[in-house]
Symmetry: C2
Subunit: 382 residues, 2 copies
């Protein structure tokens, strides 16, 4: 409701969003929803009854609890609409189907090298895979989120993928037009790291997410929303400087964290070829590998100290391939940040992502869910 005049329906939409948001936590009766949201019991009934009618919400038997007439709990129906999270990656497609309560219903990963395929082909295929999965679930689709491997500007059908370092053929395309709509609306399109951040909202409404893949990406979540940036490239934490006259970087600068804590740098420093190997050596106690991990974590800690001084969030989540290396990186990052006046633990928490490589699809589903619950008409349109 940032722009444009408000009319009566906007009030309904707002209040319905409030109710669905409250319902996200646990099943509740109309009366408890009323006290939770500040609405009247009557209003709650008027707003939710159409959704019960439409099969979006299910109504349980009265649950006795203390004195008075017991309330009948409402929850998101197990046969009601779902949202899709779709992540288009260099080497495949990752899809997740979630219920409106956020629970994962089904997930799948299809491996395929996308580097030689044109944008229309890649996104059409992604959409097909996602729709097949939804068909298998047999529940209507209320919306979708689409994670893409590069910065995005604009929203919905007009969203354009500005560049894609690892998939040059996708550059400049409009992903939502290539997939078509899901339910009645185009998918929410976002950068994979930005959307990946959203998968970690359980950690709180404010945090920084840093994810390593080929480069270092990230997302900054403030008040439950990802910082978009005016050109769609916010959260490029890989190019935060840790040493002004340090190693040359592909961006043209020198001393960017990516050159110290990026996967290529880390693997090179450790003298191994791939992450699983690195993990195994670290677990075996290889001192050279442990040293490399400590140095990478320390560089990351320097960069994150800068970031946190700027955006002031109380938590850091390490994701992507970093998640697999959390046992060694997290302590190193913590130590460096503590050294820089940010008391890790009570003040700034540092932790490894529990999602790992599927964070983008999970976050895309979450973005779709947020959209649908904020725009509940999408649930009744079909």
């Amino acid at each position: 409701m940032t722009d444009g005049p408000a009319r009566a329906p906007a009030v309904r939409r707002h209040n319905l969003g409030l109710l669905l948001d409250a319902l996200r936590g646990a099943p509740s009766s109309r009366a408890s929803l009323a006290t939770a949201t500040g609405l009247t019991r009557g209003t709650v009934a008027v707003l939710l009854d159409p959704l019960v009618e439409a099969g979006v919400l299910a109504e349980g038997v009265p649950t006795r609890s203390g004195v008075g007439r017991p309330g009948r709990p409402l929850w998101f129906a197990a046969t009601g609409p779902v949202v899709l999270g779709i992540s288009v990656e260099v080497d495949g497609i990752d899809v997740r189907v979630s219920g409106l309560d956020g629970e994962t219903v089904l997930r799948a990963r299809r491996r395929r090298d996308h580097r030689r395929h044109p944008a229309a082909d890649v996104f059409a295929r992604a959409a097909r895979v996602a729709r097949e999965l939804a068909d298998r679930v047999g529940r209507p689709v209320a919306g979708a989120g689409l994670a893409v491997p590069g910065p995005v500007r604009g929203d919905g059908d007009d969203a354009v993928l500005l560049q894609a370092p690892n998939l040059p053929l996708l550059r400049g395309c409009r992903p939502a037009r290539l997939t078509g709509p899901f339910g009645t609306a185009p998918p929410v399109v976002g950068n994979e790291a930005s959307l990946g951040a959203l998968a970690h909202l359980g950690e709180g409404p404010d945090f920084v997410y840093v994810s390593a893949d080929v480069g270092i990406g990230g997302g900054i979540v403030l008040d439950g929303r990802v910082l978009p940036g005016s050109r769609g490239v916010a959260g490029e934490i890989g190019h935060v400087v840790v040493e002004r006259d340090g190693r040359a970087c592909g961006c043209g600068g020198s001393g960017c964290v990516e050159q110290y804590a990026g996967l290529p740098a880390l693997l090179g420093d450790a003298g191994v070829a791939a992450v699983p190997e690195l993990r195994a050596a670290a677990r075996a106690g290889d001192p050279a590998v442990l040293g490399a991990l400590g140095r990478a974590g320390s560089a990351l800690g320097v960069a994150l100290a800068s970031v946190i001084h700027v955006v002031d969030v109380p938590a850091v989540v390490l994701g992507g391939r970093y998640a697999e290396l959390g046992d060694w990186l997290v302590p190193a990052v913590r130590a460096e940040m503590r050294r820089r006046g940010l008391t890790a633990g009570p003040e700034v928490e540092v932790l490894a992502s529990a999602h790992g490589r599927s964070a983008a699809a999970a976050g895309a589903a979450r973005a779709a869910l947020d959209r649908v619950l904020a725009e509940p008409d999408l649930l009744l349109a079909r």
Copy 2:
């Protein structure tokens, strides 16, 4: 309208805010406001007539323009309510009185060393000075903004000044309770650098503001609002790292920009005692001083490159004492950012503040104005 249920009055408030916002630009007739906002002519009249009645808005004579009945322009009355911007600083109080159109009506600076005075005394005096100024203007006060020299957590009466490096006696106080309300509401309380940023909204809705005084402060403005931070200390750009093993900093870390581009570092490097002297020497072409300015600007550019990679804004404004040194700092900052892949000019603009030392009071007035226009009931309450 982030939280809580929406009722009919919220719609009115929203739409009235929309109208006043549209009116901020230039006088407009009811009909043109209607087309600008998407409301009906009738609705515009219903919403604005009480404000005309109350003397907040003034109505002009019909202005003939083309065919048809000419509209009667409305604007913020020159005798209507004003907002106050108050900045409490180490060495004095800066106050600005602004009309609802944002025009400055009156300003004043009272010098006084605050270091030995307790918080209650300092803020009571600031409030008295501000109220005196408002009395002299003879227009009612609709609201105020209060800039304080340290990080702030909370809002309104509950806002607490977490610390004040240069005025230790103010630490932990609740400024809004010490000044009392202005109009019917407590002042908007914010950090001087955060609010100072708001003074530069003319440059666009998204930018980074960096201000040097004793330390380096800053504010990040996104979509016209200052990033608050979860602990009230967002925008601490002074502690962005430029050289991980560089000079030790008071924050406990090492290599923070503040140690390279802060005023003490800059003056020490240049071998002069104060900013005016520095300016004079630079203007005279003193090579040592020019070198020091170049080095400081370059360090600042490194830090700002990091910041911009994180928050992705298209402009940087140098304020505080930096503003006076813009002629030499701006080119150095630009050069360093360009070197790091951020094309200064078209992509990221770098410029010096036109407000200089009065930015905090100006920004505080702007914050108050935004609050009042978003909550137009404040205009009718008195």
